[in-house]
């Protein structure tokens, strides 16, 4: 597309880069509010217990303690903390505070005091009496008859079978699966388990609330979903929606964990009851023990294939552990099938079954990849196993079976976001090119199972093929308003939620391209529920596709108005040969031209007397998948068991990359995120179900020295349903590291590890077991 667009496909500087780099007060907690009450929380030390009594009198006597909130004095509205579209596909199984605590780290109460020190001190003077109940940590145990029932409260809804701790059960079938296996030449089945992980945004959860001059409640918060925050805070606290304004400032990363409403309702309620501003900030430890995590899953994949490698039948069973509450439980598990199985649409017989189970462990929620990461961890390794059994290369078997442009998969329709999905045909795809480009960069044919000169080190190469989606089809909407100013600049007001990704910059580029204006003349104001139109927020890889689509539609509408004004002025019959570029409208037919600035001056003050402005929404009936093919070369130290990634190649098709540098940032970021998940990050639990490593020393996100050379290769396709041909890129690349490294480990050593992460200790043990075999 080089030369075709002026601002699309260009690495325009991030519009907030200078302010961020110079430390301007942009983040939620950068604003100091006088007289703010400081909120601190007390957490359950037990995995499963009923609160019999809370003795808080001593604490309330401490000077400076203002308010203690618990189940005793807060509204008991069952809801979900999942910031999803309404009605949420997650169960209503929690209140602001619950009388029953269901994991170590479940919030028991909060104290609001004049200072953080006083609030912390007050917590020590509160005695909570618990009646301890038996707990269950293993999802398989939790489903059995006689297991402790975690949600036995009255009135919960959206739970499949609460007595069996079963949050959701999904069953989707196409074709005849058993016949499919019978008619296959080889059948391979294997099971893989993935583990708990946390998102670790550098900025933890933080919320500030205050009453404005008119007594309306302002919530300034580090969120991915400002409009859902407004709706759910109103729902939970009973404060009328019209009295709530949510402002999203700059955000220091989300990755899904800020698609949850976990501080806002309490902070808002504190301000509502006291009239005082309030501040609620999670520490890193609280982020680990009491916010949200990734659903650990056990996934069994069975593939039947013909001799030539064509897949005949694929069966996937996922057992998902949602922890103590069911937020995102159903939809994450749906995505485990819906974002993976359509990739291999050559198989006519497909079955996907999932069970989502409560346990007395930390709450899982949305996390980049959203179930697909877990699905690919298993699926892409079994694909390699099938290839090996057939004596076909991993590249060939994928080429033979992947979905292609113009094709569909019955899974798209059968499996949606907690309900039936929508039929969709792939309109942009170039998987063969991705495979070839990636294989070339990693030197696939030369490097498979290469011995190194170094004594104890062996090397291997592995690959994985991936897809995701772009937004939730037929559910999630975004909207935008755009208006023209006297100097030819534009204000764009939209609900889209840039959480550090660069979406605001992408939006400025879309407006610039559509209205013939340099992106630096586009003033972007986003995600303020009083001022901007609605948007579902930042999740499901929807930023560029849905929010950007809304901005594009609004810009097109405004362009029509601008052209119409120029047509009248030029006294021409139609606008067919009108151009807009460099801040001017030009009629190619007559050669007449008028600047946007002149149009604004004239329409404001001279003729017409109107503000040229437009509002538009965007909803898609499809969720065009971005595709990626990953290759990794690793070195395995057979003496220590340590895996060192040497080079990581990601060939990615995200449609037209609107800002290639930002796209690369998303690719590299997701891979680093995924490598940490694959190799070192892990929740360690004590016997009581307590997470024992809630800090960055022992919860090991990768340091810069742990990261290999990462080569992103962007292969352009044109997605006709996206603004300027764009699809999403945020999530798809986190799905690669586990299976790619797993396949590389097998290539290097002949071992497969069925439980992530691939820690040195596990690798070494597997190597030894392999020798002893």
């Amino acid at each position: 597309m080089e030369g075709f667009f002026k601002y699309i496909g260009k690495s325009v500087e991030k519009i907030d880069a200078l302010a961020l780099a110079t430390g301007q007060p942009l983040f939620t907690d950068d604003m100091e509010i006088k007289n703010a009450l400081q909120i601190k929380s007390l957490y359950s030390p037990y995995a499963h217990a009923i609160i019999e009594d809370i003795e808080e009198e001593e604490a309330l006597k401490i000077p400076g303690v203002k308010l203690i909130l618990s189940y005793k004095n807060t509204p008991q509205y069952l809801h979900t903390t999942a910031g999803q579209g309404w009605p949420e596909p997650s169960p209503y199984d929690t209140c602001m505070f619950n009388r029953k605590v269901r994991y170590v780290g479940d919030r028991v109460l909060t104290v609001a005091a004049e200072t953080e020190e006083i609030a912390t001190e007050a917590l020590k003077h509160i005695k909570v009496n618990y009646k301890i109940l038996p707990a269950v940590f293993d999802p398989e145990e939790a489903m059995k008859e006689g297991a402790p029932v975690i949600h036995d409260e009255e009135g919960i809804s959206g739970v499949y079978d609460a007595r069996r701790n079963l949050v959701a059960h999904i069953e989707v079938k196409t074709g005849d699966i058993e016949k499919g296996f019978r008619e296959s030449d080889v059948v391979v089945e294997d099971t893989f388990e993935t583990h708990y992980a946390q998102h670790c945004p550098i900025e933890p959860h933080v919320t500030i609330t205050y009453l404005d001059e008119y007594g309306r409640l302002v919530i300034r918060t580090s969120t991915q979903v400002p409009f859902h925050v407004r709706r759910i805070v109103s729902q939970v606290t009973g404060i009328p929606l019209k009295d709530i304004r949510v402002i999203k400032p700059r955000i220091g990363g989300g990755f899904g964990v800020k698609q949850e409403i976990i501080l806002e309702e309490i902070c808002a309620y504190t301000t509502y009851l006291t009239g005082r501003p309030a501040r609620y900030l999670y520490s890193r430890e609280e982020e680990f023990i009491s916010s949200r995590t990734r659903h650990p899953m056990k996934i069994k994949v069975k593939i039947g294939a013909k001799k030539d490698g064509t897949f005949n039948a694929i069966k996937m069973y996922a057992l998902s552990n949602t922890g103590a509450y069911g937020t995102h439980g159903l939809t994450v598990a749906s995505n485990t099938g819906s974002k993976t199985l359509p990739l291999y649409n050559k198989a006519e017989n497909v079955e996907f079954i999932a069970d989502v189970v409560y346990t007395n462990l930390p709450v899982a929620g949305a996390y980049r990849g959203y179930g697909a990461t877990q699905g690919y961890a298993a699926l892409e390794q079994v694909v390699d196993e099938v290839a090996e059994k057939l004596g076909i290369s991993p590249i060939e078997i994928r080429k033979k079976n992947h979905i292609r442009s113009g094709e569909t998969s019955p899974i798209f329709r059968a499996l949606g976001e907690g309900r039936e999905g929508v039929t969709q045909y792939i309109q942009s795809e170039s998987l063969d090119r991705l495979i070839e480009a990636g294989a070339k960069e990693i030197s696939w044919s030369e490097n498979r199972r290469k011995k190194t000169g170094k004594q104890s080190k062996v090397r291997g190469i592995g690959m994985a093929m991936l897809m995701q989606g772009s937004g939730i089809p037929a559910v999630d909407m975004g909207a935008a308003t755009i208006k023209l100013n006297e100097d030819g600049s534009f204000n764009i007001l939209y609900g889209g939620t840039d959480i550090g990704t660069g979406l605001d910059t992408v939006v400025a580029q879309i407006v610039g391209e559509t209205l013939g204006t340099s992106p630096d003349k586009v003033i972007v104001y986003a995600a303020d529920t009083d001022i901007t139109p609605f948007d579902k927020g930042a999740y499901a890889s929807s930023g560029t596709f849905v929010s950007g689509g809304a901005v594009y539609n609004a810009a097109l509408k405004l362009r029509e108005q601008v052209f119409e004004y120029a047509r009248e002025k030029f006294n021409e019959f139609d606008t067919k040969e009108f151009l807009i570029e460099d801040g001017e409208v030009i009629s190619k037919r007559s050669g007449r031209r008028i600047s946007l600035s002149e149009i604004a001056y004239e329409t404001f003050y001279v003729r017409k007397h109107q503000q040229l402005m437009a509002t538009a929404s965007f909803i898609s009936q499809s969720s065009p998948p971005p595709f990626a093919v990953h290759f990794v070369e690793i070195e395995v130290d057979t003496e220590t068991g340590q895996i060192t990634p040497i080079k990581y190649v990601a060939a990615v098709d995200c449609g037209i990359p609107i800002n290639p540098e930002l796209v690369k940032g998303q690719i590299i970021g997701a891979i680093v995120n995924g490598i940490g998940y694959a190799l070192t990050e892990e929740f360690e639990f004590g016997k009581s179900g307590k997470m024992v490593n809630p800090n960055f020393l022992y919860y090991r996100i990768p340091s810069s020295r742990d990261i290999p050379e990462i080569v992103p290769i962007i292969i352009e396709t044109y997605e006709p349903t996206g603004a300027y041909g764009a699809k999403s890129v945020a999530e798809v690349n986190i799905n690669g590291p586990i299976p790619a490294i797993g396949n590389a480990l097998y290539n290097a050593t002949g071992i497969r590890i069925h439980k992530t992460p691939y820690t040195p200790e596990k690798v070494l043990k597997a190597l030894k077991d392999n020798i002893n075999k």
Binding site: Q455, E639, T759, E761
Partner: protein
């Protein structure tokens, strides 16, 4: 975080008199890379901090004939960047390079690493095999303590409450001396050792040694001299990988690690063998040369 009394010393005498005045209620702070973290976690029992980071006379590296003096406030970065250390104490340099992150190495001091007495302290095994001495001083007296006798247990040293480290004294490695430091952590930076090892050998003939020092870290309550392995290295002709593996496996009889969040005891025992073997093998392949 509790309230704490903060005092700043301007010279050694000043620090020592403050120390004798406050006794067990005071703790010395230098780089602060460990104390500040522990202060936040409320695990510092003392209520007074004596900051010696401004005491210039306690910082620096100098040579006195074939003895190297590293003053306690010398930072890890100073050590890594010192040509003297590079030339004469490469084992220490490699050990210090593996500590923490650039920020930690810029602030953290060798004196702090020694006094902190973590069984996983990365510089300590190197100091063991390099036969370092620590000069400690109180207002009343001064004494030299061999690093081998400096530790009583995890976090415990022979330092009295009124004493502090004023010098670290290490002889040059001789021409015919070689050695290495190796560490296994859980990632490549900001990682506490699962196991580490320092080795120094004096080459006396073909595949033979007249002196051998081997020290393991994170594998016992304190850093541990591996006497069986040292004897084996002295008595064997180390002329094959098999023999080196055999010797390395003796570590199983020397170390007594615990299972903790960083690794299980069995993995650590295995690591003690493997890092020693890897290091010895590399030296063997280089012909026992530096």
């Amino acid at each position: 975080m509790k309230e704490i009394n903060y005092l700043s010393a301007s010279n050694t005498e000043d620090a020592l008199s403050l120390l004798s005045g406050f006794g067990e209620n005071a703790k010395i702070i230098a780089g602060g890379t460990d104390i500040l973290v522990r202060l936040k976690d409320n695990v510092i029992k003392e209520d007074t901090l004596i900051d010696i980071s401004g005491v210039r006379e306690l910082k620096g590296i100098y040579e006195d004939k074939d003895i190297i003096h590293i003053l306690p406030l010398t930072t890890h970065t100073d050590i890594i960047e010192s040509p003297v250390i590079c030339k004469h104490l490469p084992i220490l340099r490699d050990a210090v390079k593996s500590i923490g992150s650039p920020q930690i190495r810029n602030r953290g001091t060798i004196g702090g690493n020694i006094a902190n007495a973590s069984p996983a302290g990365d510089s300590i095994p190197a100091l063991y095999v390099l036969s370092a001495y620590v000069r400690v001083k109180s207002r009343e007296k001064e004494r030299m303590v061999s690093i081998n006798e400096f530790y009583k247990g995890p976090g415990q040293t022979v330092l009295d409450s009124n004493e502090m480290i004023v010098d670290i004294v290490i002889p040059h490695m001789k021409e015919q001396e070689i050695g290495f430091f190796r560490k296994v952590g859980q990632r490549n930076a900001i990682s506490i050792a699962i196991a580490n090892v320092a080795v120094k050998l004096e080459v006396s003939g073909e595949n033979r040694f007249s002196n051998a020092s081997v020290a393991f870290g994170a594998l016992a309550p304190t850093v541990l001299r591996a006497k069986l392995i040292e004897n084996a290295l002295l008595n064997e002709v180390c002329d094959s990988p098999e023999k080196l593996l055999y010797i390395s496996k003796l570590s199983e009889r020397e170390v007594s690690p615990i299972t903790d969040i960083r690794g299980s005891a069995s993995y650590r025992i295995e690591m003690s063998t493997n890092i020693l073997y890897e290091g010895l093998l590399l030296m063997f392949l280089k012909g026992w040369k530096r």
